[in-house]
Symmetry: C2
Subunit: 138 residues, 2 copies
DNA sequence: ATACAGTTTATAATGATTCTAAACTAGTGT
DNA sequence: ACACTAGTTTAGAATCATTATAAACTGTAT
């Protein structure tokens, strides 16, 4: 229970009350070495299996949306029928494996410098994201 | 009516019967100089205003899906709540204006060569797409 | 013309997500 | 400890985009 304090701080500093539900979701999402890619449904299933006390689906949505708004999660656009989220909120890119329907992180070093040569007056660039779709070779 | 024959050929060669509805949608989508970006809802509204005889929403969906499957339209991923389509099916990139919520084409020349340095065994790259989000400067 | 497969259509169904409003809880002040 | 208030959670209803259904219609090959 001691390392919950990290998440309690994280939540408080984002103006979110550290509730039981949010702490559980934090642990699941952020207490890991590697990036985690997920859909709401997948996250909800893990929560159901991991904890006896159920967390309402509405809360899962609320929490993910709150984390997204606060910049702790990033929505990744790969498919129009579901939302995918990423715990890696840094500027980075993705492979999307079309066979496994699975996301793989690509960091800036994996993608050569991208030089946008067109500019629009009065507009600034907020982000540049590359999506590389891959599939089995045969 | 004479230039309908272009669309009739286009449809036939894709194995789609040239129906009244499909020809109307073809004219709307492909009879223009510049790329056209749209959502189903937007397309449906234009059709409603342009023609007295109504085309069922289901047909609009069916037709757009058929055109997508046949490679005449491309789905663009910018937002998880709606599907955006593009009549430019060549490999190209986009600006997305977050204020106007509007897509702008970027061709390959506008985006420097992209060099993916990571490879996965047994996988080939199907497509590389860059999405550049832009917003007002102030 | 006839027949049949492909299309269109209105409507129902689905599925992801958001809304609602009542019950609950964390944090603050007493 | 106690109570107050604003923020949360919850189950279920509502919404919205999209897809399925199945009956009516149409293009085309014979």
């Amino acid at each position: 229970m001691s390392n919950n304090s990290i998440f309690i701080k994280k939540l408080r500093s984002s103006g979110l009350r550290p509730t039981k539900q949010r702490i559980k979701i934090c642990k699941l999402l952020f207490d890991r070495k590697n990036t985690f890619h997920f859909t709401i449904n997948y996250l909800n299933n893990i929560l159901k299996n991991k904890y006896a006390e159920k967390i309402s689906l509405a809360t899962v949505y609320n929490t993910v949306n709150a984390f997204k708004k606060k910049g702790h999660l990033k929505e990744i656009l790969i498919s129009s029928d579901k939302s995918y989220y990423d715990t890696n909120v840094s500027n980075h890119h993705h492979f999307f494996d079309e066979n496994k329907r699975e996301l793989i992180d690509l960091d800036d070093k994996d993608v050569g410098k991208i030089n946008i040569k067109k500019a629009l007056p009065g507009k600034k660039i907020n982000s540049i994201e590359v999506l590389v779709k891959i599939a089995n070779n045969n």
